[in-house]
């Protein structure tokens, strides 16, 4: 019994090292201007703030990831983006999975308050995230997504709630 207890203590102590590394890296990123990979970053500060009419969004098909910050909470993350019929969309997978729901909290936050700022190629755009849960639009959009990314996003997955899709519409 004593040996077992010691083994548990040793394993716990050794686990503390990677836990400390991950916690520190995550906390450090919160103070940065934008995200890095999976850890949320701080508010998007740098970069010109776009004003006026929307640009031709077709250029985002060449952009692998963007930085997106919600206004509430003011945290940013790096996500995929797709353009379809000159509108831009962001989405989150793993939403039907408990670990995914813990990992990906922004979709729930965005559904509550969709005000967001996205930064693409150093330019910031104020947007309003509007969730899309069904509709024929999803056929074309998911085709665009799977063409651009190694993703299994389908209309059925979106309608089942496994993938949450948002249009990043202009903020009025």
């Amino acid at each position: 019994m004593k040996l077992f207890r010691r083994v548990v203590i040793v394993i716990f102590c050794l686990l503390l090292i990677p836990i400390a590394a991950v916690a520190t890296a995550g906390a450090k990123q919160r103070f940065e201007d934008g995200p890095n990979r999976v850890f949320s970053g701080g508010p998007l500060v740098a970069g010109e703030l776009h004003s006026g009419p929307d640009p031709d969004w077709s250029f985002v098909s060449e952009v692998p990831t963007i930085e997106m910050q919600l206004l509430s909470p003011a945290q940013s993350r790096r996500i995929w983006i797709a353009e379809h019929e000159n509108k831009i969309y962001v989405w989150s997978g793993y939403m039907g999975n408990p670990i995914g729901r813990i990992w990906k909290r922004w979709p729930v936050q965005a559904e509550r308050d969709g005000r967001a700022v996205i930064r693409i190629n150093g330019v910031r755009y104020e947007r309003q995230l509007k969730r899309i849960q069904s509709g024929d639009l999803l056929d074309g959009l998911t085709a665009t997504i799977t063409e651009k990314y190694p993703s299994a996003t389908t209309r059925a997955a979106v309608e089942a709630g496994d993938v949450w899709v948002f249009e990043a519409a202009p903020r009025s």
């Binding site: 102590c13 590394a21 450090k28 999976v38 793993y94 670990i99 990992w103």
Partner: protein
């Protein structure tokens, strides 16, 4: 065991300092974490 506890505490402190101040360590940690997180979420 006492030495082991001291070693663990020193390793945790060294890890935190490395992540905070050594360039590239935070990115390595995040990249590694991303791999395991992605596997767990699938």
């Amino acid at each position: 065991m006492k030495n082991f506890y001291i070693f663990t505490a020193a390793a945790v402190v060294a890890t935190i300092l490395a992540v905070l101040f050594v360039p590239g360590v935070d990115d390595f940690v995040e990249r590694t974490f991303q791999v395991y997180l992605g596997r767990a979420a699938r």
